[in-house]
Symmetry: C2
DNA sequence: TGGGTGTTGTACCGTTCGGTACACCCCTTC
DNA sequence: GAAGGGGTGTACCGAACGGTACAACACCCA
C-alpha cells in the first residue's frame, strides 16, 4: 500500500520502465524512488536487498506478463498465423512501437549479465519454446521450428537496438510485419 | 606514450573492451584505469573530458576499424557473395564468435543513448549503406536492398543479445552462416 | 481506547563516484 | 647541465552512490 494508492504491481511496472531505459547501473535509487513515489526507506521495505530485489521483481512480473499475453496465446488452440498475430500485437504495445528498450537486452549486456542469467535465460527460452510450438503445429520439424523461433526473437531484439540506434521506429514496425510470413514460410 | 609502451590505439582498444562489457554507466574510472594500465591522471591527460571523451575515441576507432575491415571490402569490386563473406569473417572475429557484446548496442540502450546518438547513428547508417551497395550490385532494387541490409545488421545485433541471454553462442554462429543466403536470395 | 502492525520521512553511514591540483620525474633539446 | 615539457603518482575534492537506523506515523482490530 504505497503512498499514492499504487499497488505492488504498479510499483514494479514503474521500476521496469526505469530499468529498461537506464539499465541496472544507470538506474539510481534516487530515480527509482522518484519514479515510484516511494522514499528510499519504503523501497527497502518492499525490496530488502535493494536494486537486486527490484530487478528480480521486475523479471518475475515480466515473466508473468509475457506468459499470459504472449506465451499462452502462442500455445493456445487456433490457426498458427492467428496466434502469431496475437503475439505481434502484444509486442508492439509492450515495446511502444519500438521506442522502448527491452529490459532483457539491458540485463544481458552490461555488468549484470552474470547476476540475472537464470531468470533472463528462462524467459528467452520460454519465448523461443512457445514460438517453436506454433511452428511445429504449422507442420515444421522441431529443429527448424526452434531455429526459426530463435531467429524471430533475435530479430525483435535486434530491431529494437537498430531502431534506437538510427532513430527510425519504422525498422521495428517492418520487422514485426514481416515476422508471420518469414516464420510460416 | 603510456607506461607500458602502449600506443594510443592500444589504449583505446582496451577502453573499448571495458565499455562493451560494462556499458557506459558500469565502466568506472577505476576499471578503465586498470584495463589500460594508466593512472587516473594520465587518463585525464589523454581524455580531458573523462569518460565522454573516451567513448568518443572508442567510437572513432570503431568507425575507422569497421571502415577498413567491413565497409571498404563491402564496397570493393568482386563477387557480392565474396564481399559478404569478408564482412562475416571480420564480424565473427570482432564479436569473438558471439561472446563479446556490441558497444553500439550498449550505448543505444542505457542512459547514454542521447549523448552519443550522432556517432552511433553514423556507424549504423554506414554499415547499412555499405551492405545495401553490395545487394544493389547483386541486382536488387535500392529499396529492397536497404531493407535487407537493415535486416542483416539487426539480426547480428539481436543474435548477440539472444546468444548472451541464453548462453548459446551457436545462435550467433548460425545467424552469421545464414546471412549470405538470406541476403542474396 | 489502546495496542500492534505496516509504512514512512529524516538523518545518517561508509564507500565509491567522476574529476582536479600539484609536485615530481624522465627525457629531450639546447 | 640547465631548461622545458610531456607524462605520471599521490593526495585530495565535493557529490552521489547504495544502504541502514530509527522514530513517528496511520490505520486496523480488539
Amino acid at each position: 500500500m504505497p503512498a499514492a494508492q499504487l499497488s505492488r504491481d504498479d510499483v514494479v511496472a514503474r521500476l521496469l520502465t526505469v530499468f529498461r531505459h537506464r539499465g541496472y547501473d544507470g538506474a539510481s535509487l534516487q530515480e527509482l524512488s522518484k519514479a515510484t513515489g516511494l522514499g528510499k526507506s519504503s523501497l527497502y521495505h518492499y525490496f530488502p536487498n535493494g536494486k537486486d530485489d527490484m530487478v528480480r521483481a521486475v523479471l518475475a512480473s515480466l515473466d508473468e506478463q509475457l506468459r499470459e499475453q504472449v506465451f499462452a496465446p502462442l500455445r493456445a488452440a487456433g490457426a498458427p498465423a492467428r496466434r502469431i498475430a496475437v503475439m505481434i500485437r502484444a509486442l508492439d504495445a509492450f515495446y511502444a512501437q519500438g521506442t522502448a528498450p527491452c529490459v532483457l537486452a539491458q540485463l544481458v549486456l552490461g555488468s549484470t549479465h552474470a547476476r540475472f542469467r537464470g531468470p533472463v535465460r528462462a524467459i528467452f527460452a520460454e519465448w523461443v519454446d512457445a514460438l517453436a510450438t506454433v511452428l511445429v503445429d504449422a507442420g515444421l520439424a522441431r529443429r527448424t521450428a526452434t531455429a526459426r523461433a530463435q531467429d524471430a526473437v533475435l530479430r525483435i531484439e535486434g530491431a529494437l537496438v537498430l531502431a534506437g540506434g538510427v532513430g527510425d521506429t519504422a525498422i521495428f514496425a517492418r520487422t514485426l510485419k514481416r515476422l508471420p510470413a518469414d516464420l510460416l514460410a
